[in-house]
């Protein structure tokens, strides 16, 4: 008969794969919560109910913090660069390796904990190598969960206070992640500056007026450009702060949601009313469907794909 630790270990891996591969921030958070809750149960014998409760509450609080950051809609994960199948394969392979090896003989805890721990660490590698703060936080959380599982496997059952401390650590990581996710305006500004011709240099503390102007520009939703200055130069209010118009970002083919009037260009399935109309008339109707007016409908451009680069 399978032990409960096996199911918990599988749940940990599934949660980790979901957290690493999902693009919607809220699904990422749900995956993390599943992994964190299940990780507390990969033990034999199970910890005391108080310890398990502390871990579950800590996992839920950590998930809530990340949910609060992701729930605004501005935070989404970039998702996995190698895809769900590849990430799942990596996780399963690491799990199998964890079941096979014995770095500590005999193991003081269940071997499933070691397998799930190695799987979590393997899943955390790619997010930790990136520069997305949200995915970085996911990676750090998975890494910590993996480490705690390995400790449980190698050192045996953990005391209640350690479970409490681990819950505090997970909450701390989640809190740090949601605090350090840069705002959308800052990301846009950073990308714009990176695309610019002038080098972006952080302002020295003496450049407070410039920094204040930049902050005000960010608050207005305006991208800005920090003028590179030598550190010794005194800056005053007259220093130029050159607001620049950000170029529209080219959309990737798959990551961004499709806007309502882009379905023709991006190959998405057409809405129901459009499909019905197309079937009846044999032609693609304009979107939105034209209303019966005196004037003829304006002629649609032949290229419905937006001109992203401003070329004539």
């Amino acid at each position: 008969m399978l032990d409960a630790a096996v199911f918990a270990a599988v749940a940990v891996v599934v949660g980790g794969v979901v957290a690493v591969t999902a693009r919607d921030g809220r699904i990422v958070v749900l995956g993390l919560m599943l992994a964190a809750v299940a990780a507390a149960l990969v033990a034999s014998p199970l910890p005391s109910s108080l310890a398990v409760t502390a871990r579950i509450l800590g996992a839920m609080l950590a998930a809530y913090l990340l949910w609060a950051a992701a729930g605004s809609g501005s935070v989404n994960s970039a998702g996995s660069a190698i895809g769900l199948v590849a990430e799942g394969s990596v996780a399963v392979a690491a799990f199998a390796v964890g079941l096979a090896i014995r770095p500590v003989d005999p193991l003081a805890g269940p071997v499933e904990a070691q397998a799930a721990g190695l799987s979590m660490i393997a899943l955390a590698v790619v997010p930790l190598a990136g520069r997305d703060a949200f995915r970085m936080g996911v990676g750090v959380t998975l890494l910590t969960l993996g480490g705690s599982l390995l400790v449980g496997a190698w050192a045996g059952p953990t005391p209640s206070l350690e479970q409490l401390a681990m819950a505090a650590l997970l909450v701390g990581i989640a809190g740090a992640t949601c605090l350090l996710i840069p705002s959308a305006e800052a990301e846009e500004a950073a990308e714009t500056n990176a695309e610019g011709t002038e080098a972006v240099e952080a302002e020295p503390p003496s450049a407070q007026p410039v920094a204040a102007a930049n902050r005000a520009a960010v608050a207005r939703g305006q991208a800005f450009q920090v003028i590179a200055k030598p550190a010794s130069a005194a800056l005053d209010d007259s220093q130029p702060v050159r607001p620049i118009e950000p170029e529209p970002r080219p959309r990737p083919m798959t990551a961004d949601p499709i806007e309502p009037d882009d379905w023709l260009a991006w190959g998405a399935p057409a809405p129901e009313h459009v499909r019905r109309a197309t079937t009846r008339t044999g032609r693609r109707p304009p979107v939105p469907p034209p209303t019966h007016t005196e004037k003829p409908a304006p002629k649609k451009p032949t290229r419905s794909r937006p001109n992203l680069h401003g070329k004539p």
């Binding site: 014998p45 005391s48 108080l50 770095p103 500590v104 003989d105 005999p106 003081a108 955390a124 930790l128 520069r131 703060a133 970085m136 936080g137 750090v140 890494l143 910590t144 480490g147 390995l150 400790v151 190698w154 050192a155 045996g156 059952p157 953990t158 005391p159 209640s160 206070l161 350690e162 409490l164 401390a165 681990m166 650590l169 701390g172 990581i173 809190g175 740090a176 992640t177 605090l179 350090l180 996710i181 840069p182 705002s183 305006e185 800052a186 500004a189 950073a190 500056n193 952080a202 302002e203 020295p204 503390p205 003496s206 407070q208 920094a211 960010v218 920090v226 550190a231 010794s232 005194a234």
Partner: protein
């Protein structure tokens, strides 16, 4: 019970301060009150106190109380300085969370609990780093901060596993490889967290963010607490263990320590922004923590603890000094700050005291501690680097002082400085209320112009009240005593900040001289030091947990002084941090 009270105060204070954040005045009051209560709890901490939570015993020693007192006092003083120079709204809750985490870490008898708590105590650094999230720096600093947090968490868990190696049978031909790996990761975590060279870029970026007082949390308090637990691991697991892998790991950490000692000072000399100079100074002195890790000798434990105490308070004072100078002269560029010492002599005195506390002098405890760490942590052939580090440190401190003695720039002349200012009551005509000026001592037109607006507002307020003498040609505006005290208080903000910085520096100097019983306290380690050796299974629980887990079933630890402590003289009764130490309570 005193330890539990301390932890409860810290956690409750942190939550209350965070909840009160939307209300500016309330949050400041709550933060100051919480830090004051935490300081009082740390001062009253019984050195032989213990409490059992679950199966783990939390116990205090004299050094534990002393260290927590130093952290709490530094936090409180910096927040008080922040009231003058600009309130660091996230520093107080982050400091309280760090205090709670470090309190659990250094009082726990279970190594896993100690390391996990120490790792959790590093998370509040994100509160300080998050201040720059809306700037182009935000992404870089945030990613670096999260990576550091991940490294610290992994290093802590690995160190915890290897700490209990007496109960783990590693399936390896050379088990010292695991130990060397754990040492390397742990020392790497300490190095990255403290910004050691070559991991100094995030710290340097943070210094350019205008973070001010918040720098001390990320670069001083958190690395010190984590380093203290790491030192305990080192002395318990690492001392006297031979092995080629260990030698290579130690060599790698020695290279990083030497680079930090030299290049940190060079960085401080090359930069012109005060915040950057302060950050590189902190980075340089954090190299001594790495030296203590590489010492592989029990003799390094006591000087390392003394150095950590001095490091906490002296570097807090240095950060406060930088914040006070930047606020007083409204610039932090050395190019603008020529002549600052002439206008702010109290800050100049504070800097001299900070230098003395940090470097010491031959024969002083802090000097001997630094020298001992260099002698034990480095090979004989490079012992001269200790002297070189001192000389390089002196160089950038002297540069700061020399710039302060030069002819003042317009920026410095325009500032009020930290001289005493008194509100005057000159004869004021009704038609010319502008004549109600303040004559600073020494009288200076720039300071007069700067302070006139304050009195202008006060005279307007006084004029708005019904006045029976209204219409008289010449009269003296009626300032109540309370009003005059308020004006004087606002006029002398710079001197308040300067005196607080000087007080912090003075405490650092006293600690560096071995005062308050510091030398004796540093002889006793943290609880983990004493829990390590005698227990066959330091985790405190069996592999098969017993159904009855009474408090008495927990590990009974010999909390009596260690052999080195017995050899040392008895703690003096002047130790303010632990008055009960001499009573054997």
């Amino acid at each position: 019970m005193t330890l539990i009270a301390f932890l409860a105060i810290c956690i409750a204070g942190m939550l209350l301060t965070l909840l009160a954040q939307p209300f500016a005045m309330l949050s400041r009051v709550v933060a100051i009150a919480s830090l004051g209560a935490a300081l009082a709890a740390a001062l009253l901490m019984n050195p032989n106190d213990s409490a059992t939570v679950g199966e783990v015993q939390l116990s205090t020693t004299w050094f534990v109380g002393f260290f927590l007192t130093a952290l709490a006092a530094s936090s409180l003083l910096l927040c008080l300085i922040g009231l003058v120079t600009g309130w660091p709204e996230r520093l107080a809750p982050a400091a309280l969370a760090t205090l709670a985490g470090i309190g659990v870490a250094i009082s726990s008898t279970d190594p896993t609990v100690a390391f996990v708590a120490a790792a959790a105590a590093t998370a509040p650094a994100a509160l300080a780093a998050s201040r720059v999230r809306s700037t182009p720096l935000g992404m870089t600093v945030g990613v670096a901060e999260l990576r550091t947090l991940g490294l610290v968490a992994v290093a802590s868990l690995l160190a915890a596993v290897t700490f209990v190696s007496t109960s783990i049978n590693w399936n390896s031909d050379d088990s010292t490889f695991v130990l060397a790996l754990a040492f390397l990761v742990l020392a790497g975590a300490v190095a990255v967290r403290s910004g050691a060279v070559p991991f100094h870029v995030p710290a340097a970026l943070l210094s350019r963010s205008g973070e001010g007082l918040g720098l001390v949390l990320s670069l001083v308090w958190i690395p010190t607490g984590f380093g203290l637990v790491a030192l305990s691991w080192s002395s318990a697991s690492f001392v006297g263990v031979p092995g080629d892998w260990l030698d290579r790991a130690v060599l790698a950490v020695q290279v990083v320590a030497v680079a930090t000692l030299i290049l940190g000072a060079v960085g401080a000399m090359l930069h012109d922004e005060i915040e950057e100079i302060v950050v590189y100074s902190i980075v340089q002195d954090a190299g001594f923590i790495l030296l203590a890790l590489t010492a592989r000798s029990e003799d390094a434990a006591s000087p390392a603890r003394l150095w950590l105490l001095v490091f906490v308070i002296a570097k807090s004072a240095l950060v406060a000094w930088a914040a006070a100078v930047s606020w007083t002269f409204e610039s932090s560029s050395l190019g603008d700050l020529r002549g600052w010492l002439r206008r702010a002599p109290i800050l100049g005195l504070a800097l001299v005291v900070i230098v003395a506390a940090t470097l010491g002098w031959p024969g002083s405890p802090v000097f001997e501690a630094r020298d001992t760490l260099v002698q034990l942590g480095l090979p004989d052939s490079v012992h001269f680097l200790g002297t070189a580090a001192i000389l390089l440190s002196l160089a950038y401190y002297v540069r700061l002082l020399a710039v302060g003695l030069m002819t003042p720039t317009a920026t410095v002349r325009r500032a009020e400085g930290d001289w005493l200012h008194r509100p005057h009551r000159p004869n004021v005509a009704d038609e010319t209320p502008e004549a109600a000026t303040i004559e600073p001592v020494p009288a200076d037109a720039a300071a007069e112009a700067a302070t006139a607006s304050i009195v202008q507002a006060d005279s307007d307020a006084a004029a708005s009240t019904p006045n029976p003498d209204e219409g008289a040609r010449h009269r003296r505006p009626r300032f109540s005593v309370r009003h005059r005290i308020g004006v004087a208080w606002r006029l002398n903000r710079p001197i308040q900040a300067s005196l607080l910085v000087l007080a912090t520096a003075a405490i650092a100097a006293v600690v560096a001289c071995g005062g308050f019983g510091t030398s004796d306290a540093s002889q006793s380690g943290i609880t983990l030091d004493q829990a390590a050796a005698p227990l066959p299974n330091p985790s405190g629980i069996d592999v098969e947990p017993q159904p009855t887990a009474e408090p008495s079933a927990g590990p009974t630890l010999p909390l009596a002084p260690s052999p080195t402590q017995v050899a040392s003289p008895a703690p003096s009764a002047s130790a303010g941090a632990s008055p009960a130490a001499t009573t054997g309570d």
